[in-house]
Symmetry: C2
Amino acid sequence: MTSFISRYKLVLIYGVSCALLLFLMKWLEVRFLILSHSMELFIGALALLFMVLGIWLARKVYEPKVQTVIVEKTVEVPNQSFVFNEQEAARLGISKRELEVLELMSQGLSNQEIADRMFVSLNTVKTHASNLFVKLDVKRRTAAIETARKLNLVR
Amino acid sequence: MTSFISRYKLVLIYGVSCALLLFLMKWLEVRFLILSHSMELFIGALALLFMVLGIWLARKVYEPKVQTVIVEKTVEVPNQSFVFNEQEAARLGISKRELEVLELMSQGLSNQEIADRMFVSLNTVKTHASNLFVKLDVKRRTAAIETARKLNLVR
DNA sequence: TAAGCGTTCATACTTTCGGGTGATTTCAGG
DNA sequence: CCTGAAATCACCCGAAAGTATGAACGCTTA
């Protein structure tokens, strides 16, 4: 919204500048015709001047657009979201239920709480956990969480 | 590298176009002078045309530069490094030793391993751990790790 | 100097975790 | 149809984790 307003302001300013410049050119034209009558040089200078003006105008107008794009990008990037490493899970042969246990484990839940959430017995959770520890080559649930995090299996 | 080549190609093409356009303008100038002698209109048209050309040229040339800037920004941003939340640690009243225990805990070490590393007894580690659990308002070490991570106290 | 805090450690006890073993069911694939 | 993997559950036992309580020491601050 504000970028549009500022852009319009710029256009207005440059429009007025162009008008003034045109008057200047006309005055110069008269001078030129009187002095040397070298029309070709005048035409060339005029063309060059206005092309430069055009380039300058375009740069001024389009530069804010550049900055806007950059802002969008910088906002977009900090999505350091977690991407599950399917390859690693498959390589280690971790099953669906084991992964569920791992996930809940990493959230700080006890085996009993995990059992309640998954609607299975405590013993089942223990079995899944044991299998996980073998597959992740660890001896404790805290180490399992650490390893799983490093392998992008959780969070 | 390739962007520079393509940009130079563009400039060359537009340079040639400008030259051709100048010749066209001169020819038109003669026509104009013969037909109506309306110099003001001719000057205005010429100025407008070359300004538009300048704008067009600037846009074409500067657009690839925009993309380059975006790339630089996206490369710059992914510094997702861990910054220890000192305020939160102070707010919760977590001491140095407790923090050390928390750190080692989050690395998957057992109480005995932590005790060995810190050159204190197992009981001392347990005491620190218990105090941590109270301060972090949790009941298990896994939950403590989870909470500590969310508060940027570890890793 | 007394009070408070952090650190250290201890004993005793309960709970949770993890290993080992074995059993059943289900379901996909040779 | 048989096999094997996955999922489910059970029992036992030892290890680890966690709770409760108490105590000693050093440092800082009111």
